[in-house]
């Protein structure tokens, strides 16, 4: 395959933008080739030499892709797909079932609800994680990988929690919080080991992340969970393992030669977006709204992210999405946790990756490599 067709094959841009880029590259290629033929080089050799002078087509295509970061509608829809799937599951779950069965659900209804959520989340998790692992094994970083991986991991983790909750319900226990600790401890160990693997070349960061993993495990095993209220419980669940998750995100996307910081932000965004289910109350109109409005904002945010044409705009869109989804959440269900969650998202999803980019890579965060 020649230089131009290989670049064309690898560029995933809207047709008009792609045509302009290819037109310019073709013009350079032809001028290079004509100059060589004019200097006495044979046509076939001129073709080879022109391609050699233009460089590695994969590298050129990747750099062009980084600058022209506006995705095609196909890629944009693929990127938003996991979050849209979450929205569909959300549409069909607890609020609607509660409306059907009345505010105080019977034990069998709760059992069916739990089973439904378990199966739905497990299926979503397997689908999106399988797709992501395939790309990771090929060492590629397409835009959609960030949301697929985040939602795949997140839904499988939720399926694990649901399985334990379901077991608790069957055994007649009403409070499922304590039941999730063994799986949380295991998950943190996995995330911690992954984070350490990502930063294995830096002894300092390897040790810091190892220490943090150990500390997190100790906190989860030894903390007096029974005496904590739900707010503190959720805050612990969110904040303590966050540095480990950040290390994995940066290692997978920001530090990868074919990745970038905005993709790390998108990954964290898809991982941390609120699903609202923590703050539901027994009001028939609030529950469906709380489950639908913020996820719609989230899906629209991801579509806008994919279709925007600069990395700076992409980060601004993510920040706007976090604020709007957070406000939608807060208007529907007044909750201190949601306010903390929105502030955390803004800091952790937008600011920290940008600071990382500036501090460790010495690049302007909005610039492609």
């Amino acid at each position: 395959m020649d230089f131009l067709s290989e670049v064309e094959k690898k560029l995933d841009l809207p047709p008009a933008e792609k045509a302009q880029v290819m037109r310019e590259l073709r013009s350079h290629y032809e001028e290079l080739r004509s100059a060589m033929i004019a200097s006495g080089v044979e046509a076939a050799q001129a073709d080879q030499e022109a391609a050699r002078k233009l460089g590695d087509p994969a590298d050129v295509a990747f750099r062009l892709q980084s600058v022209h970061c506006r995705a095609t509608w196909k890629t944009a829809l693929l990127t938003a797909l996991p979050l849209a799937a979450m929205l569909i599951v959300s549409l069909a779950k607890f609020p609607l079932m509660q409306i059907i069965w009345g505010a105080h659900a019977q034990r069998s209804a709760v059992y069916e609800y739990q089973t439904y959520v378990l199966i739905a989340t497990a299926v979503l998790g397997v689908i999106f994680l399988t797709g992501s692992i395939r790309e990771l094994m090929r060492n590629r970083r397409p835009m959609w990988l960030a949301t697929w991986l985040a939602v795949g991991v997140r839904e499988l983790v939720r399926a694990g929690h649901r399985l334990q909750e379901l077991t608790n319900w069957i055994e007649g226990q009403r409070m499922p919080q304590v039941g999730i600790f063994p799986s949380v401890v295991f998950q943190i160990l996995v995330v911690g080991l992954l984070a350490m693997a990502m930063f294995r070349r830096s002894a300092k960061w390897f040790l810091i992340l190892g220490g943090w993993t150990l500390l997190t495990e100790v906190i989860y095993i030894a903390a007096p969970w029974a005496s904590l209220n739900t707010g503190w419980f959720l805050a612990f669940l969110l904040l303590v393992p966050a540095p480990l998750v950040m290390a994995v995100a940066l290692g997978l996307f920001a530090r990868h030669p074919y990745g970038n910081t905005a993709s790390a932000s998108l990954f964290l965004f898809a991982l941390y977006v609120s699903v609202s289910s923590f703050s539901m109350r027994d009001s028939h109109w609030v529950l469906p709204l709380a489950n639908v409005l913020p996820p719609i904002v989230i899906v629209m945010t991801v579509l806008a992210y994919a279709r925007s044409s600069t990395w700076r705009r992409k980060l601004a869109i993510l920040a706007a999405g976090i604020v709007v989804a957070g406000m939608a959440d807060l208007v529907i269900v007044i909750s201190g946790y949601l306010a903390v969650h929105t502030a955390f998202m803004l800091f952790w999803v937008i600011l920290v990756p940008m600071l990382f980019e500036r501090r460790w890579s010495g690049r302007r965060p909005e610039l492609a490599r």
């Binding site: 230089f3 670049v7 880029v21 037109r23 310019e24 590259l25 013009s27 350079h28 032809e30 001028e31 290079l32 002078k53 233009l54 460089g55 590695d56 087509p57 590298d59 050129v60 750099r63 062009l64 980084s66 600058v67 022209h68 044409s309 600069t310 610039l367 492609a368």
Partner: protein, 113 residues
């Protein structure tokens, strides 16, 4: 002898702006001019020029336009903007400062015997 790739990459913006500050040019000619002015020192994989040009266009340092030349061949030319001129002045100043400091540090190294 050619410059290390990382050095060229790191200074690509200022090099391209310097060439375009003289007159508008298309990509092929920018490469040739850089090659000529630096006597072959700043050679690069020519395809990698375009990501730089497109990023600079997005940043508003240069603007591109298509022109048709003899033989009906089309090419995209770039001209430097006001913003590009001030960016060039800023970066040139920065580079001068950097070089003078490096030279000052290097000058204290004793001559090899």
């Amino acid at each position: 002898m050619s410059a290390p790739t990382e050095l060229v990459k790191g200074n690509a913006v200022v090099l391209i702006l310097s060439v375009l500050a003289r007159e508008p040019m298309h990509g092929y000619r920018i490469v040739r001019e850089l090659d000529r002015l630096s006597e072959g020192y700043f050679s690069m994989a020519e395809g990698t020029l375009y990501p730089h040009l497109h990023q600079m266009e997005k940043d508003g340092f240069i603007e591109g336009y298509w022109e048709t030349v003899s033989g009906g061949r089309e090419r995209k030319c770039y001209r430097i903007t006001e913003r590009g001129m001030s960016e060039l002045a800023r970066r040139r100043e920065e580079l001068h400062e950097f070089h003078s400091r490096v030279n000052r540090v290097l000058s204290v190294i004793p001559e090899a015997r």
